[in-house]
């Protein structure tokens, strides 16, 4: 709003060429061409392909109407994939925010070694998720994995964590949380440091408990940080790809596939490009709905606070 008013004020008295009405569109033309060629056009082309039976390499394909969509909604794998994708997206988001906020509160107190703790928690953020996946493979591998080495040392039976179709989506989610909790932590830490100490002093004088202060001062004032974190984590988690490839390859069967890995295997291993595109449209739709809902919900909270 601020820039709108200054705009209208400065418009009147100028008589030299300010070029106010010019859009200067040629300055963003190159960026538009780049984004249109590599994202917008292929995206809509993908929507078109989702109505065909294209195999991914032939020059020809047939228009099949809604066949791929009917197939998608009756394919049990779709529901496994959607469930996993939501687990990776929403499950990670809840944990990353809860744990990230906890870490931020801890680092915002006057403890020793804060810098070291922060560095170690943040380090995984800058490492490739694929490499992170391999590092966790060393931990969870059935034979000679660190987890089983520890279990056997204490006299327990080894577990096949990555081969277990019920457990491994949760393991993948936890690895994603471990890797990116640092981002949530840092954003919350910045949020906490911007809250004035006066509020807490006033609350202390009024005799409010620490928990009341957290509920009535800290959380409402952190609302903008919560919005950013939730949107970032949801979008990141819903697109999860690398970690899954590294840890399970989507298996056993399709048990731990996310939308991204499922599309990849449909296209390259199963020559089913039309169906891959249909799955792509579904995930784009889900991401859009969830992002908008999250944005709307948390923006409303911010205004209330």
């Amino acid at each position: 709003m601020a820039e709108l008013t200054s705009e209208s004020q400065s418009q009147k008295p100028k008589n030299y060429k300010v070029a106010k009405e010019k859009s200067l569109w040629w300055m963003y033309l190159p960026a538009i061409i780049l984004v249109t060629t590599f994202i917008v056009y292929p995206f809509f082309n993908g929507v078109r392909i989702s109505f065909t039976d294209w195999d991914g390499f032939s020059q020809t394909s047939n228009f099949v109407g809604l066949d791929q969509y009917v197939r998608m909604f009756s394919d049990p794998t779709t529901w496994t994939v959607v469930r996993n994708t939501l687990l990776y997206g929403i499950g990670s988001t809840i944990l990353q925010n809860a744990i990230g906020l906890g870490y931020a509160l801890l680092l915002n107190s006057s403890i020793k070694m804060r810098t070291l703790t922060r560095t170690i928690i943040y380090l995984p953020v800058i490492i490739s998720p694929l490499i992170m996946g391999y590092i966790f493979y060393l931990v969870f591998a059935f034979q000679n994995g660190a987890l089983n080495d520890a279990l056997m040392f204490f006299g327990f039976d080894p577990v096949n964590a990555l081969g277990n179709p019920t457990a491994n989506p949760f393991i993948i989610m936890l690895v994603n949380v471990y890797q990116f909790v640092g981002i949530a932590m840092i954003i919350y830490l910045a949020g906490l440091q911007s809250i004035s100490k006066d509020y807490y002093e006033a609350a202390d004088i009024d005799g409010a408990s620490k928990w009341d202060q957290f509920k009535s001062i800290t959380l409402p004032l952190l609302a903008p940080s919560i919005t950013i974190n939730v949107v970032l984590n949801v979008i990141g988690g819903l697109k999860l790809f690398d970690v899954i490839v590294a840890l399970t390859g989507g298996g056993p069967g399709d048990a731990s596939q996310s939308s991204s890995t499922f599309m990849y295997s449909l296209y390259f291993s199963r020559q089913d490009a039309g169906y891959a595109a249909t799955q792509g449209v579904l995930i784009a739709f889900i991401i859009l709905i969830i992002s908008l809902l999250a944005l709307w919900y948390f923006k409303r909270k911010e205004i209330e606070a």
Partner: protein, 274 residues
């Protein structure tokens, strides 16, 4: 007294959390130091010292070549993002025409679209262009994927912190738009340029999803694709995989440790994954 005890308790808690977060890296290091056939517990260091895994992985996986490819692609994409992104953001931040408002909305909308939905048709297009297995296509696709975020960061910064008076004064002196932008505005955008550079470095250097689609022949493999095939070949000799993974993460980890302040500031302003 009470306060001191609480502080001690919190310090111990922080220590435990730090140790827990360090475990994967500890396991990576013990594993990378063990020779093939050493199946001792991952939790203990070997009683010998050998860097053989590192030298073998470096040569076998051709990690040097992969590092150069990753570096070229990241640098190329970062240059495009900084030049085209800052230039695009300028009119979007300064000229409130209907067209520009629409274009800004378009860029924000693209941020929500998962590039993965575009990947399947994009792959065929790239094959038709004859650009498969070229570093150029990896540069262009990565630049396109991070362009909306870059424009968003630059335009927010220009609108909120760059005073218009400077540009107006330059205009009176007869400078043209492009001259004003590159000589007066661009140098003031350093903080965002640093953020864009860091986001590009981390996420494009680490990119696997685009690389696995477009860089399938081994001479153009980046670090991630190289490690992907090296892992497939050495599933039963994880010491080599660990050493390779360690080498692959080293450049970024060192940069992070030395430039931590900038990394954290840059990434929290633009922490959106591909």
């Amino acid at each position: 007294m009470e306060n001191k005890r609480m502080k001690l308790g919190l310090t111990i808690l922080a220590f435990i959390i730090t140790v827990l977060h360090a475990i994967p890296f500890y396991i990576l290091i013990t594993t990378s130091l063990k020779e093939q056939g050493d199946f001792s517990s991952r939790w203990v260091f070997p009683d010998y010292f050998s860097l053989e895994n590192f030298t073998t992985a470096w040569q076998e996986a051709n990690l040097g070549n992969a590092m150069i490819n990753s570096l070229l692609i990241t640098t190329g994409a970062a240059i495009i993002l900084i030049l085209l992104g800052s230039m695009a953001a300028y009119p979007l931040a300064r000229k409130n025409t209907k067209l520009n408002k629409g274009v800004l909305v378009l860029f924000v909308a693209i941020m929500v679209v998962p590039p993965l939905t575009a990947l399947v048709p994009l792959y065929q297009m790239v094959v038709d262009f004859g650009m498969i297995n070229t570093r150029t296509i990896a540069v262009l696709v990565n630049a396109a994927a991070f362009m909306p975020l870059t424009i968003f960061l630059y335009s927010g910064f220009i609108r909120s912190t760059i005073p218009k008076e400077l540009e107006e004064a330059a205009r009176i002196d007869g400078a043209n738009t492009l001259g004003i932008f590159f000589r007066i505005v661009f140098p003031l955008l350093k903080p965002v340029t640093a953020s864009v550079l860091i986001v590009a470095c981390v996420f494009i250097w680490n990119d696997y999803q685009f690389a696995i689609f477009f860089l399938q022949s081994s001479d153009v493999h980046t670090l991630t694709v190289t490690m992907d095939s090296y892992f497939a070949e050495n599933q039963h000799n994880l010491g080599l995989v660990a050493a390779g993974a360690f080498i692959a993460m080293l450049p970024m980890a060192l940069m992070f440790l030395f430039l931590q302040k900038y990394f954290i500031a840059g990434l929290s302003s633009g922490a959106v994954k591909g």
